[in-house]
Symmetry: C2
Subunit: 196 residues, 2 copies
DNA sequence: TATTTATTATAACAACAGTTATATTAAATA
DNA sequence: TATTTAATATAACTGTTGTTATAATAAATA
């Protein structure tokens, strides 16, 4: 065996990572990576069969980074933190957010939003017993609360990402989401009142 | 003057319109239009300087169609109808919705979402005096209600468009939006109680 | 040191995009 | 009917993409 690799697989992915974070997936081409790497396009193809492999790699990295955002402590409430982290990610990693949720050429598959919902459910479930406010609710009411919160979070993330909601500090995001959560909670209370 | 035009400007735009509605903006190319039209690409360029003109034309048509959706009577409440129409449009015209709100190569401009918000405000304002429930609210509370409803509508439209929210009948959409509206109303009531 | 061989650079390929130069065509005008 | 001329068809040009054939290169091995 001769000639150790000059460009490691990680270097290739790192270069692509920097490009996608700054300019978005559309600007990640074999040539742009090579340029950023100071090489030809060959090292890329020596590490992966095609750019589809790279796309998967970047999707994974993006998901992991978003997961980091969602696991941070913004508010002391892990359920709320998932939503806050989601929106903060949409604000601070505009291109990655678009890559995960908007760049889909096809409308069909949308695993990532679904996964977002699932992690919502999971965290919600694990928090349930600790939160006296929530544990008093019926399963149906809890489901409604989660669903509405998910929809609201998604809408807020989209609008923050698009720059429609402007000077968007973490505290402001937290306020929006807390308000919405309270609103949906009040709604479920009202529904249960009515059904009695 | 010789040889009347075989392909009218409207025919060209109509062909592009059918293509974008079915397959999305990315599939609208000079050659695909020509193919659908049974012509060469020349008639297109005889009617417009470049495909940018066509894009503007299709944007206008899409906006008008969405506006139609929002002016329809789904619920008897014009304010609610704007939101319902928005989501129904996102469901029934998946590619046009993406064209208006998601296909943006750049994150910066997002006039269409803003225009959506403005029409929300306008309709809300014109309805204000008629709706006793709303007219009793403080301006600040009204603003909060509009903002939250807008965010929720946007999120719901996105998720319905992506197929995340599934067997999505008009009545279901209406239910979601009505519920959310009530929730945000209850929230503002609660806030005013607290501030007293 | 000469050979081997994986890695890389160069340069090309095909596919596709928008656009356009040129030739053809067909109807109105003379 | 012959001429004119705008509209269209054909085919190309330019530029960009992913990918790859070929050649150069450089380090480990013989």
């Amino acid at each position: 065996m001769k000639q150790p690799r000059v460009f490691a697989r990680e270097q290739v992915i790192d270069a692509a990572w920097e490009l996608i974070r700054e300019h978005g997936w559309k600007q990640v081409t074999a040539r742009s990576i090579a340029g950023h790497l100071g090489s030809s396009t060959m090292p890329i193809y020596s590490h992966m069969k095609s750019l589809d492999d790279l796309e998967k790699e970047l999707k994974d990295r993006s998901r992991k980074l978003m997961h980091d955002y969602q696991m941070r402590d913004y508010t002391g409430n892990p359920v709320l933190d998932i939503a806050v982290g989601y929106v903060v990610f949409a604000r601070d990693e505009k291109q990655l957010f678009r890559f995960l949720f908007l760049d889909r050429p096809d409308v069909r598959d949308s695993e990532d939003v679904l996964q977002m919902r699932d992690s919502f459910y999971e965290q919600f479930g694990s928090q349930e017993t600790e939160d006296e406010m929530i544990s008093g609710m019926s399963p149906k009411a809890q489901e409604g609360l989660i669903r509405n919160s998910h929809i609201f979070s998604h809408g807020l993330a989209m609008m923050v990402n698009a720059g429609i909601i402007h000077p968007c500090a973490n505290e402001m995001i937290r306020g929006y989401l807390e308000d919405a959560g309270e609103a949906f909670y009040l709604l479920e209370l009202r529904k249960e009142e009515k059904s009695e």
